[in-house]
Symmetry: D2
Subunit: 314 residues, 4 copies
Amino acid sequence: MALSIGVDVGGTKIAAGVVDEDGTVLATARRDSPATSREAIFTTIADVANELAAQYDVETIGVGAAGFTSSDRNTMVYGTNLDWTGARIADEIASRTGKKVVVENDANAAGWAEARFGGGKGAKNVLVVTLGTGVGGAVIIDGRLVRGAAGFAAEIGHINVVPDGRPCGCGQRGCLERYGSGTALGVNGWELAKFRPDYAARIIELSGGDQNKISGKAVTAAAREGDPAALECYARLGGALGLGLADLCAVLDPEVIVLTGGLTEAGDILLDPVRKSFNEHLTAHAHRPEIPVVISSSGQEAGLIGAADLARQD
Amino acid sequence: MALSIGVDVGGTKIAAGVVDEDGTVLATARRDSPATSREAIFTTIADVANELAAQYDVETIGVGAAGFTSSDRNTMVYGTNLDWTGARIADEIASRTGKKVVVENDANAAGWAEARFGGGKGAKNVLVVTLGTGVGGAVIIDGRLVRGAAGFAAEIGHINVVPDGRPCGCGQRGCLERYGSGTALGVNGWELAKFRPDYAARIIELSGGDQNKISGKAVTAAAREGDPAALECYARLGGALGLGLADLCAVLDPEVIVLTGGLTEAGDILLDPVRKSFNEHLTAHAHRPEIPVVISSSGQEAGLIGAADLARQD
Amino acid sequence: MALSIGVDVGGTKIAAGVVDEDGTVLATARRDSPATSREAIFTTIADVANELAAQYDVETIGVGAAGFTSSDRNTMVYGTNLDWTGARIADEIASRTGKKVVVENDANAAGWAEARFGGGKGAKNVLVVTLGTGVGGAVIIDGRLVRGAAGFAAEIGHINVVPDGRPCGCGQRGCLERYGSGTALGVNGWELAKFRPDYAARIIELSGGDQNKISGKAVTAAAREGDPAALECYARLGGALGLGLADLCAVLDPEVIVLTGGLTEAGDILLDPVRKSFNEHLTAHAHRPEIPVVISSSGQEAGLIGAADLARQD
Amino acid sequence: MALSIGVDVGGTKIAAGVVDEDGTVLATARRDSPATSREAIFTTIADVANELAAQYDVETIGVGAAGFTSSDRNTMVYGTNLDWTGARIADEIASRTGKKVVVENDANAAGWAEARFGGGKGAKNVLVVTLGTGVGGAVIIDGRLVRGAAGFAAEIGHINVVPDGRPCGCGQRGCLERYGSGTALGVNGWELAKFRPDYAARIIELSGGDQNKISGKAVTAAAREGDPAALECYARLGGALGLGLADLCAVLDPEVIVLTGGLTEAGDILLDPVRKSFNEHLTAHAHRPEIPVVISSSGQEAGLIGAADLARQD
């Protein structure tokens, strides 16, 4: 079977791995991410890939990175993280490695890994939702990743759930990401701490007494203890996410929704309010098969596994 | 080239046609829709198809009808119009005609025709939005129609645009269909007539003086004259539609949005407020290619053209 | 004790009565309302008042009518019903009767009667809310009727409860009157009938099968039978009213809220959802005395009783 | 003419002054606020009052403090600041000074000063709105302060302007105070800094580079420079305030709205968006006299001036 290399390019480090067709990582290698220049990044990516390629019989390389990638999977149309907007990344790495290379949005890559080898395994229509500092996603239809005409598809964190709500980096207000991410959970806690400090006392305490250090993690820790304020933060997050998922299902009708990302460590504290709101908001709920909402985590390596596997796809 | 028969099954009539690979209708035939029994409908569909098949060398038949169809394109999972929930329509017609038969959601079929031969011609990623009594749609990704795991995809009329808004037949409140359809336009006019009769005087007048007869058509007629109340009705409709389209583009990132259906006869009166709101609400608007919003109408035959062409697809 | 005459001037009839200081009506007289001219209306009002004044020792006359009245209680600043905007009504009637005359907004007059002799008896701070075709009100603070600087106070039907909601005759959208009146109840039913006819079947049936004839009364009749659609109409009405009343109490802090008007015939069907929403929305609920919400009806004569009694006040 | 002493009791200091009938402060005295016990506070209030009473011929003392005060102006029903819920403050101070004493809510007292001697001078119906860390107010009708049945009136910061919006210390969500106060202005800036840091760069810079130190003052400073993000913060604040003021005018119909408090130092930056939104939302706008919205500041001493003057009123 064909092996493939996946490279997950982050702001501070570059992680690569050799991935087989079952999604198993056979070997890994890492480098610090050089912030200096595009050239340095390309060299580092090629270097780490070549190191692995020297040990395994590999045909393809998939590079996952933050940003909008072109539909031919060559160019970073708009890089949201590193300064490589417009870079023909696949060509650059191909010329340095001699392999077939594709570049994919990192959230798409990680989502693909979840859909193929994680919570969506065996399903052909999967919605993967990554809940971390933002809300990202990957949409798989008929077994194929949806990238969109310009590589901008699956920006599910930017559907509107609150008219004229919290401002968003995308220029809009009220995006799902502003109400359904781990960051949003922290903001829910911050708001309660700011305006109802007595009620939010436990959340503040678990944040070292500093309202400005309230994070989603502190809210989750308080929620595990049954703290009413923290559970209210989760109820609101779940309400928004459930509404957003219901909208997505009206359009996509997946077999399964896979939640992943750091926020899913909360388990049922997250799932319960999400499922409740989702089922309340799902159109034609009584007339359709149930759409399960599950948590899955292929872990830190999902990004490189997905990038590797996508490089094997047409 | 392969010819295909399309059959558009409505509540009162059944229209069939022979369609070539360019989407041209070579011949048509019609029957009244027998409301009596499933058996009678199957017989009538087969009868009209056989009549055309006797004249042309046809290999496939596509049946378009209202309802959710199974992903194998055989069964009507939930028929919203005729009483044939659960019917294995494709098998029934195949056994009566000896052809390969598929059943498709009628909105999907008509949308497919628009995407392939109408406003979306040449594009591989198309969002077709049908604006009539309801808001329907078809989603084409990488040149393929999106049907969903259970055949329920592209129910774009049922994404939420107004939290806790007007009630919807789907069991929810605030669906796009309740604010963006021709029916919704009439309700916008009705509300103004009910609560601000002086302001809505021209709309009432164009409805024969009867507030209860206000329709989208009367509102459009008044809007063509520049009536402020009618233009307000359109501004609200366009606001809701633009928001809904922006949400859909965050997920699907199409090359083009094709508006079709009876409401599009309003032309720029419709397009102007829709485009304004769409551009205001589109995520990452400044960083992506423009997504044109166009009107196209393959006319009454779009349903049968699309059904015929879909029967030719794998 | 001083007797006073109250005159309730409606669009079709003029009702007058002699009222003692306990709010008891000692005698009444009626006329049809002449639609012809201001002069004819003044003459008719004076005529009916003089008829009563011939029988009782009366010093004052209070005229209640729809519209905004000046703070000196002489002029109809803006008449919403009859064509007498700008008319110096009190002077006109005084010159025809030789009595001291004041003109009051009819809702204020009826509300005053409820506050003094009905559900607010004995209280010095009362909020009276009239629920009929619209939502009107009267505000009594420290035993005095609040009229406002220009006679426009207590327009409680026009506080906002739904941002950008249903259009209102006042030029705004989302006014309490559009969600909390008997008319609104009918519109709630109409919306369900329009968009969910199966669900609203009993409401339609009780409206003679004609969706366009759905009124608040039909919804109430269905709600009495326990019809879920009708109860949903009431839940929404109660939700809006409760929110509006909570806003009003944040400003006014009354001892009691008296609901009156035709809609209150529904009794607990109305009161239950109103109280529920009111208590959920009342600011600082835990720290303040309970504010009772009661139904009271001084009946058809409340308008003339209140007008009569107000004429006795400074 | 009668002189009166006003005492403004804050969390950290107690300020007193002798006030004549024109609202002029003839002399002042101050103490630190003893946080130790009620007894200590009563003693300190009496002490500072007696010091002034020794120099001027004074008959009355008005004490202004945070919290809900009883309608007989004797008891602090619920103290939101100092620990004196239930204390019979007027009696306590009277027994220590030999004067007639009343206790008033501090916002009411300061608002009364603005209404009588500041921006509302000469008007009998005035709405005073204090914009600082919160949104407070005072309502004057027919020349009398409205206190409410239980002393809870004029809590105008707690009318709802955003359904299900930001949480509030009062237990509700979406209160005017959460969107219209100086604190809210800072939160508007914080949200932009959190989610759109590039856009909010100038606001962050003027906050010493620390997002957690963003205050209304930094936003105001940036707005003075024409910074678009800061002006957006003001546009949203003004939108909420204008809506809230329009609701209040529907009920109260004042001659003038006087804005006061720290936020009003922004001048037209504040006034422009408030007036715009107010005029857009005012019911029956076309049919009523214009209600001016003005800024006035009687300064730090407004609280003691108002308390002193209210002690002279019945």
